[in-house]
């Protein structure tokens, strides 16, 4: 008997009304993450991965979108069960930071430039845990130490502009984890960082995850990063999840033609051809205003048949803890 997952997204649909029409950015997305595990959510620009995370945080309205259907069940410690999709805003405000925290790609724009970093960590602690000013400051110093900032007693009074990009991301992580949330959403947290700094931050997230026992939704376009950090991987294309599997399987035996094409196009994943040309996926993702009728990948797919173009393929459970949205996955995998 396994415990119910910490997060369970079921049939999520998120839409934006634009001057040129209604855009379904996230269409019938179902995902789950067990406590303490990391789900990597990968996809290219416009695939819907970031809108999925904004929906979870219920921040999508600020960008002009809305959740139109689906449930997002969160099960924080203490046996509670919350549907984030239906939660009134005041209750949602308490969930943010306490039960779910988020870190973004660009730490400079997420930090307030006129507050010291200590005050920004303390704000979160005081808001959610109602501790005294003195306690909150001690907690801020403790968090800075935990995320590996040297001399935290002095650094606590620094302002964001006094820190390097890597240090700012550590501060963001300190703020995010100050209330020990059950779920951390990390949206491209290392994309703006140099590789040696990225390696430090990935190690830090892994270490803190083990300490706190939190689940992580790690959103990235970088398949190398996902290989290092995720337990499971979900691949998104044109608003839908097209494949989901344990990390080792998705890299060893991708079943969806899009996943196969995506992995093959990365330099170094396959033996180079004599002419050094990389395998590519022809064409481009469809415009969200004008998606094909059936399988959304069909226009770019070498395996597509009339049946593929006729109806949207279901996300099929193919055994081995794997799912794929392709009616021809068996032929594709030959």
């Amino acid at each position: 008997m396994t415990a119910a997952p910490l997060l369970e997204i079921a049939n999520l649909r998120a839409v934006f009304d634009t001057p040129r029409g209604r855009v379904v950015s996230v269409d019938d997305v179902s995902l789950s993450i067990p406590a303490g595990k990391t789900l990597g959510l990968v996809g290219e620009s416009g695939s819907g991965k970031s809108v999925t995370s904004l929906s979870l945080m219920r921040l999508i309205a600020r960008s002009g979108g809305r959740i139109e259907a689906g449930r997002m069940i969160l099960r924080p410690a203490g046996g509670r069960e919350i549907d984030l999709a239906a939660l009134p805003e005041p209750a949602m405000r308490e969930v943010r930071g306490r039960d779910i925290a988020m870190i973004f790609q660009e730490p400079m724009t997420s930090l307030d430039p006129v507050w010291s970093i200590g005050d920004q960590i303390a704000e979160s602690v005081r808001l959610h845990q109602g501790v005294s000013r003195r306690e909150a400051r001690a907690r801020a110093i403790e968090m800075l130490r935990l995320v590996g900032i040297p001399a935290p007693e002095r650094r606590v009074d620094d302002f964001p502009h006094q820190l390097s990009g890597g240090m700012r991301q550590r501060v963001m992580i300190a703020i995010a984890l100050s209330c020990r949330p059950g779920l951390l959403i990390a949206d491209e947290p290392t994309t703006a960082l140099d590789v040696t700094i990225q390696a430090q931050i990935l190690d830090l997230i892994r270490r803190l995850q083990a300490d706190i026992g939190m689940a992580v939704l790690f959103i990235t376009h970088n398949m190398g990063v996902v290989a290092e950090i995720a337990d499971r991987v979900a691949v998104m294309y044109a608003g839908q999840v097209v494949e989901e599997a344990p990390v080792a399987e998705i890299f060893a035996t991708p079943r969806h033609p899009y996943t196969q094409g995506l992995l093959a196009s990365i330099p170094g994943t396959t033996a180079p051809r004599p002419d050094r040309r990389l395998p590519t996926i022809g064409g481009m993702p469809p415009s969200p205003l004008n998606r094909p009728e059936g399988c959304r990948f069909a226009p770019r797919c070498a395996f597509a048949t009339d049946a593929c173009r006729a109806a949207v393929p279901p996300l099929e459970d193919i055994g081995g803890d794997r799912k794929v949205r392709c009616i021809r996955w068996q032929e594709v995998s030959q």
Partner: protein, 323 residues
Amino acid sequence: MSQPLLEARGLTKRFAAPSGLFGPRREVHAVEDVSFSIRKGEVLGLVGESGSGKTTVGRMVMGLIRPTSGQILVEGQDIGNLSAAQMLPWRRRIQMVFQDPFASLNPRRRVGDLIAEGMEIHGIGDRASRRAEVARLLDLVGLPADAADRFPHEFSGGQRQRIGIARAVAVNPDLLVADEPVSALDVSVQAQVLNLLLDLRERLNLTILFISHDLAVVEHFCDRVAVMYLGRLMELAPRESLFARPRHPYTEALLSAAPIPDPTRQRSRIVMEGDIPSPIDPPSGCVLRTRCRHATAACAQSVPPLIEAAPGHFKACHRDDIL
């Protein structure tokens, strides 16, 4: 041995740092004593993290900024300190492809005009022949002929990068300086643009200085690789030799830090501690020593020279007993 197409000798660039009204004058040591050469038809990769000076080297080669000292020789002639008028014919021979395909194209000009602009400036052909040439170039980079009459915003990032490439090769350059040309693109689009650059390299016999922070892309694309850190050259070697056996601790750490898309690969990662020091006050001696796990007292004493550790494989490291 034929003369290299491009040779950088002791290239150095220092910028004045903001110091306030009464503060001491300070300098950013952006590039310090960098030397390398590129043979005709070769692709040289220039890799490094932010602040390594790789973009500044590219801008000096392009003639966009002047070196503080050192020389940039094209076929033996120093172009580092020419006047704007003297530089013009060289500008045709050295063209650039930029990282951001959204910022580098004038949004108010039609794609055809953008591609023809260089030919116009350098007085190549007449109106009619330029129009024909634009059509040929669009076909060459894989864009439809009607693209000439449209505006940049009508194209995706990958297509815009193709426009930028067509614009660069329009004046038949000898050398292309490509500064992170695929970094802003999605993975699948990145592969398409890299293939295009490989095609053009063969068809047009291009020589390319390829600036990138992405080691996998550099390994795929370049013949030789120069690794920079904090303004200085750390290692310079043929691709196979560098990736099979890095001989500098920085290259070793950089390779070990790069995430590899293979979850079964067990790696002992060398995590480089700390941040890159400020280029206003770089460490004495070897600039890597503050983050290097092999550093000794001697490393603070003098700047290690670039020595040939194996045929064609150069490194700047005092420790010859490691790697």
